[in-house]
């Protein structure tokens, strides 16, 4: 550290007084407030690090096939291999929809209007509903005999019920309903961090509304949108209850988490279950690393009015 020129060298002729240990530690960011981190650090080690490492070593000890047997098994079996595709085909569209829909809504919600608070409450309420409740609601509402299909039938728009549950659509719906509030709240706070005078300045420079969004607001918002996408993606990637309840867990929505669940708790092959979970983690990290890498190439400084 360049901040420690004094005192580290042994005393020569008339050395400057050695800085107190406390100051030298503070220079490296160590002081007593560091103790505040301790409880959380212990919890993370006991409840995350240890089980994770335990699962990792377990995944290398399958009953047959050597060290990488469980991993080889996952990719050799077409049914389990396809769960990778099933997961991505749910998580990526769901995150894109959540982020994409959040942008115009939060863009408009920056300004005040009548009923803004009510609308905000309606947008955010799904956060308070559990996944299971949402899934049951979807089953009731969008099911073959649900209100949605009955309304379609009454309006003469559909002769036979539209199949919206127990398949891909049902799970996607559930992911959007429960994931959107998070995406919206994040986008909204990123957007309100952009000083309104920037758009005003752009307007006086001749930019119409689309140009103002395209050249000023969007570039400043993009890093935030990428973070929002990452969080949204992580939530959607781990989809489990809705894939079971409103999906087709043995077909189009046979996602990795279901594959791992069935391996570990239906076939009692813990090594295979752990390996599936590790594969899931690795895939998730690849996507996160890609998005974060992309993000680091963008402008990420202040978004205030004063540069």
């Amino acid at each position: 550290m360049s901040g420690l020129p004094v005192g580290t060298a042994p005393a020569v002729a008339g050395p400057p007084a050695k800085a107190a240990l406390r100051h030298r530690l503070a220079e490296r960011g160590m002081d007593r407030t560091l103790l505040l981190v301790l409880p959380a650090a212990l919890a993370v080690i006991a409840l995350f690090c240890y089980p994770f490492l335990y699962g990792l070593q377990l995944s290398f000890q399958p009953a047959k096939g050597g060290v990488f047997g469980a991993y080889r098994q996952f990719f050799a079996e077409p049914f389990s291999r396809k769960s990778v595709w099933a997961t991505f085909s749910l998580a990526i569209p769901a995150s894109l929809i959540n982020v994409g829909v959040s942008v115009p809504i939060s863009y408009r919600m920056r300004r005040d209007f009548r009923g803004k608070r009510l609308l905000l409450a309606l947008l955010v309420v799904p956060i308070t509903l559990g996944t299971v409740l949402t899934a049951e609601g979807i089953l009731e509402f969008y099911g073959p005999a649900g209100w949605f299909n009955r309304t379609l039938h009454l309006l003469g728009l559909a002769d036979s019920p539209v199949q919206l549950t127990m398949n891909y659509t049902g799970v996607l719906l559930s992911l959007v309903i429960s994931g959107f509030p998070f995406a919206y709240l994040l986008t909204h706070s990123y957007l309100s961090g952009i000083h309104p005078s920037l758009e005003k300045a752009a307007a006086t420079l001749g930019a119409g509304w689309w140009q103002r969004f395209r050249y000023v607001t969007f570039p400043l918002l993009l890093p935030g949108l990428m973070t929002t996408f990452c969080l949204s993606f992580v939530m959607a990637f781990a989809v489990f209850p809705s894939a079971m309840m409103v999906g087709d867990p043995n077909g189009s929505t046979h996602v990795i988490s279901i594959e791992a669940y069935q391996a570990a708790l239906e076939r009692f092959d813990y090594a295979q279950g752990s390996a599936d979970a590790m594969i899931m983690t690795a895939l998730m990290l690849v996507v996160l690393a890609a998005v974060t890498g992309l993000r680091s190439r963008l402008y990420r400084g202040s978004t205030g009015g004063k540069g």
């Binding site: 400084g301 004063k306 540069g307």
Partner: protein
């Protein structure tokens, strides 16, 4: 959108505009006003700005000066009135089609663009060609002396440099009108002085027409060709710096122009343009200004600059006896705040030799004491109001 005329003219080249010539003939504001619900931020404002003029809107915070500027820029809709630019009505034109340059108080530079990107932004929006853009940006950057910083982001610049980028960005469009909203208020004192002359230099070199909002009377006096003093959303006075400095129209303007002594007194006698006023321990002869009704027994506000109050010489009739309370060292002179036996505060300049606690007999020449008839009739409604107004000036 297509029905509104596009006021912009992206094809102009700097060479086409002669250095002193302005693109703007005349900008006329007629009854421009702005209300928020029942609160009127700006009462009907009439103002005609001629091409090449530097007009300052001066007033304390909340006086409506920024509201007026935002109305001019098109960022705020008008509640009533119209704005006419060389015979064309512009108040119905959205800001992006008005083509006025604006410098914001917080500069509002685009943080994700370099200095060059910021300055070129407006040209890009207008679809000006690449070569032409480069040429014009280079020229403006040279003018504001930022050629070296062209590749930097705003976050890497000092306050003064950011401010110059904001000006460059506004003037590269060669706008008929440049609007500046307290552009110097975020700078430190030394830089403020430097940028003040810079702004005046750019105004003259580019032949701009500028409307400048400020609460600093020194800035307004030194920069502007004409001042508009606003108070509570109304115009108090419009005139050249000299007119306002020498002949303020009312005590409010006087307070802004450095008349720090504002005292409410009762008229004792009137003779021609002179009148004698007194209240409590104060008695003085002053010059009537403002043209209101003045008669014996009515109240008048006297306005005197601190530099016109002096310690009475031998044989001179003092206007009051007071005790020096606060003595500020201002280099060549001392600024003394003295309090009379009845609690009136008198500000004066003195050469030296005054210490807190000294008893002073002070006087003022009759033509240096301006008497404004107080609004309303009868003896003073609120003598405390005048010294309160004096606080505004500092």
């Amino acid at each position: 959108m297509s029905t509104v005329p596009d006021m912009t003219d992206g094809a102009r080249t700097p060479a086409a505009a002669s250095p002193a010539g302005s693109q703007l003939g005349e900008l006329r504001l007629r009854g421009v006003s702005r209300a928020y619900g029942s609160y009127t931020a700006l009462h009907p404002l009439d103002l005609t700005i001629r091409g090449g003029e530097f007009v300052a809107l001066l007033g304390p915070s909340g006086c409506g000066k920024t509201t007026a500027l935002n109305c001019l820029a098109g960022l705020l809709p008008l509640t009533a009135g119209e704005i006419v630019l060389d015979g064309r009505r512009v108040d119905t034109v959205p800001p992006e089609k008005r083509g006025f340059g604006m410098v914001f108080q917080n500069y509002a530079l685009f943080p994700h663009l370099t200095v060059r990107g910021n300055v070129a932004f407006g040209l890009k929006m207008r679809g000006v060609g690449r070569a032409e853009t480069t040429r014009r940006v280079d020229e403006v950057l040279r003018l504001v002396r930022l050629t070296e910083q062209a590749h930097k982001h705003p976050g890497q610049l000092s306050g003064g440099q950011q401010q110059r980028v904001a000006i460059a960005r506004a003037i590269v469009m060669e706008p008929p009108l440049v609007l500046m909203d307290e552009p110097l208020s975020n700078l430190d004192a030394a830089l403020r002085l430097e940028m003040r002359s810079e702004i005046r230099r750019i105004h003259q070199e580019f032949g701009l027409t500028t409307v400048y909002v400020t609460h600093d009377q020194e800035e307004a006096l030194s920069l502007a060709d004409r001042l508009v003093v606003l108070e509570a959303g109304r115009v108090s006075q419009i005139g050249t710096p000299a007119e306002l400095y020498e002949h303020p129209a009312d005590p409010h303007v006087a307070a802004f122009m450095g008349y720090r002594n504002l005292l409410a007194l009762d008229v004792v006698s009137v003779r021609g343009s002179r009148a004698v006023v007194q209240r409590r321990g104060l008695r003085l002869t002053g010059t009537l200004v403002g043209g209101g009704p003045v008669a014996e027994g009515r109240e008048a506000t006297v306005a005197i600059r601190p530099e016109d109050v002096r310690v009475a010489g031998p044989g001179e009739q003092p206007i009051a006896e007071a005790v020096a309370q606060i003595v500020e060292y201002h280099g060549r002179a001392l600024h003394v705040e003295a309090v009379t036996g009845d609690g009136d505060r008198i500000h004066l300049r003195a050469d030296g030799g005054i210490r807190p606690g000294d008893a002073l007999a002070v006087t003022v020449d009759a033509d240096r004491a301006l008497l404004f008839p107080s609004p309303g009739t009868g003896p003073g409604p609120d003598p405390a109001g005048a010294p309160g107004a004096a606080e505004v000036s500092r």
